[in-house]
């Protein structure tokens, strides 16, 4: 069984439209010992790019630990001349109550409440549909699957206005968590079905055939074979969908109603940055509170993160 999983997992590690050539991988490993192409000049250029790419984030992180007075009056690089450290900003944006405060703890909770179901619903529905498209023969299967694949090219913007009308006048759920969950589930489905299908179709037919001979029906095959074998793919695609929802602003703006009851962090941040002059001492800490979850995922689950991203980069 592990061999099957390994083989299928290898598929997750290559970007869309690319095949892993095992021969090439072996050769490049052998060549590691050999002299590399690059010159000292190239190394210096690389380090310069790395520094330029890191400084903006680093500066904001430093800022978030300075006092409000310091943030307003001089740049974060002064930290190295006159060091200071405070958690005041984090305490302020998280715990201070009141209409004009950032109130981020509520929005942080909202982001979690939105993102967990909005990641689970589509991958479960997609796994079911992908199993049917891969292993149940029926008329029109190919045509419907191509249609779902084609739906990926429809920009979210095409669906927003009518979907909002359905939510507000037919279902009456506009501005609630279920509205945001359902919207994210729908927008996530075309890509997740496509990716899960790629994965599930690679499961060897003998495994499924053997279960069928033993008298298992589709439901049993799905729970006993498909789900356990798909766990690596489910993890990668689930993480990608979770981060996509966590980082989303557009769907949140349209469907969440924009209050502290439902709206996620991104929406509150967009509001705060809209009044930059008044909120500038809060923004560094506020931004890092929203970045902390993606950064933890990025640094601890990088393998899954890269896979999910490579596969899912065409979403939206």
């Amino acid at each position: 069984m592990t061999d099957v999983t390994d083989k299928a997992e290898a598929k997750l590690d290559r970007p869309l439209g690319q095949k892993n050539d095992p021969r090439a991988a072996k050769l490049s490993r052998a060549s590691k010992a050999k002299q590399k192409l690059t010159s000292p000049g190239a190394t210096i250029a690389a380090v310069i790019i790395a520094v330029i790419w890191t400084i903006p984030t680093f500066g904001l992180l430093v800022s978030s630990f300075r006092t409000p007075e310091e943030i307003r009056t001089n740049g974060w690089w002064n930290m190295f001349v006159s060091p200071s450290f405070t958690l005041e900003n984090y305490a302020d944006v998280l715990t201070t109550q009141g209409a004009s405060s950032a109130n981020l703890s509520s929005y942080f909770v909202n982001s979690l409440i939105i993102a967990i179901p909005a990641a689970l619903f589509p991958i479960i529905l997609a796994t079911m549909a992908a199993y049917a498209f891969a292993w149940i023969k029926f008329k029109g299967s190919g045509a419907i699957f191509v249609l779902i694949f084609a739906l990926q090219i429809v920009p979210l913007q095409m669906a927003l206005i009518p979907l909002l009308q359905i939510f507000s006048s037919v279902l009456g759920i506009s501005g609630t968590f279920p509205a945001v969950w359902i919207a994210h589930t729908i927008f996530g489905l075309p890509l997740t079905i496509f990716l899960m299908h790629n994965f599930i179709a690679e499961i060897p037919g003998e495994v499924i055939e053997a279960a069928r001979v033993d008298g298992a029906n589709h439901t049993q095959i799905f729970f006993r074979i498909i789900i356990p074998l798909s766990l690596p793919a489910l993890a990668s695609i689930g993480i990608f969908q979770f981060l996509w929802v966590w980082n989303d602003l557009l769907v949140a703006l349209v469907f969440s109603g924009g209050t502290a009851d439902v709206a996620p962090l991104t929406q509150r941040l967009a509001e705060l940055v809209g009044n930059f002059g008044r909120n500038q001492e809060r923004l560094p800490a506020a931004a890092f509170i929203s970045l902390i979850i993606p950064l933890i995922v990025f640094f601890s689950l990088q393998r899954y993160f890269v896979r999910g991203l490579l596969a899912g980069s065409t979403k939206g």
Partner: protein
Amino acid sequence: MRGLAPFWSDLFEKFGLMLLGLAVFAAVIGVILFLADRAPKRGRDVWQLLAFVAPALVLLAVGLIYPAIRTTLLAFYDRTGNEFVGLDNFVWMFTQPDIVQTLINTLIWVALVPTLSTIIGLAYAIFIDKSHGEKILKSLVFMPMAISFVGAGIIWRFMYEFRELGFAEQIGLLNQLIVMFGGQPQQFLVNSPFNTLFLIVVMVWIQTGFAMVLLSAAIKGVPIEIIEAARLDGANAWQQFRNVTLPGIRGTLVVVVTTISIATLKVFDIVRSMTGGNFETSVVANEMYTQAFNRSEFGYGSALAVILFLMVLPIVVYNVRVMRKQKEIR
């Protein structure tokens, strides 16, 4: 600390709601699959098939296919959706100076972001290939890809921050550098037309890591014998790159450029959170939101969504054709 009590009750209420939502979802799916499992022998296959595909198909039909068709129709109706106005919304789009500016901005974005991200990403991937600490160097440039566009917007808002010279110290790094070298501090996000370029920098900052990771994987797939052979033939580093590496990664280059182009056409969060589309920086996706949801101009908003779709379409078609051709070669 007394302020925390409402927070906890709020927290429990919301998590309760989430668990309820998850339970309802699990129950619905469970019942559907249970019924399919116990379906009468006659036609069991059909019932089981329906149980697996119907939930996803119904959601897609109601939430994506129907809305997309309706948006296309709404593009030919007035703001109330009742009166047919023919091509008026599109005429409006191409005659209103600020909307024309929006379309031009979108074209500038899609011309610059994929080009710059791919070139920098490719150069970086080659520079760090097989170097010490390649993994860490990759992480540093790839990291912006993990965070939200809004977060990136805030990070760069501080980089661009402007203070009048002589009244206060600069708090933005870029203006500090300008002042240090004796220049005048700039209002990067206000002064048109260059403010659009400074927004584009943020998108390039995000997308370069994506290009770099894909291209790096592709470079490692180029067989080493060919590179060795080229070196033995006396090819210098540039010639090796031009004649061996570049042809070897062409397929991935197409995927990278098209993927970034599509993401760029749909860019919304960066513009929304950094300038709000003011100072002539608006793009189609932002203008669509403003017209439809801030001004209730559903006709205009729908027309802009249709334009966005038409801009994305040829890129996707091209992408699919290239991918299919590659499959045939293999």
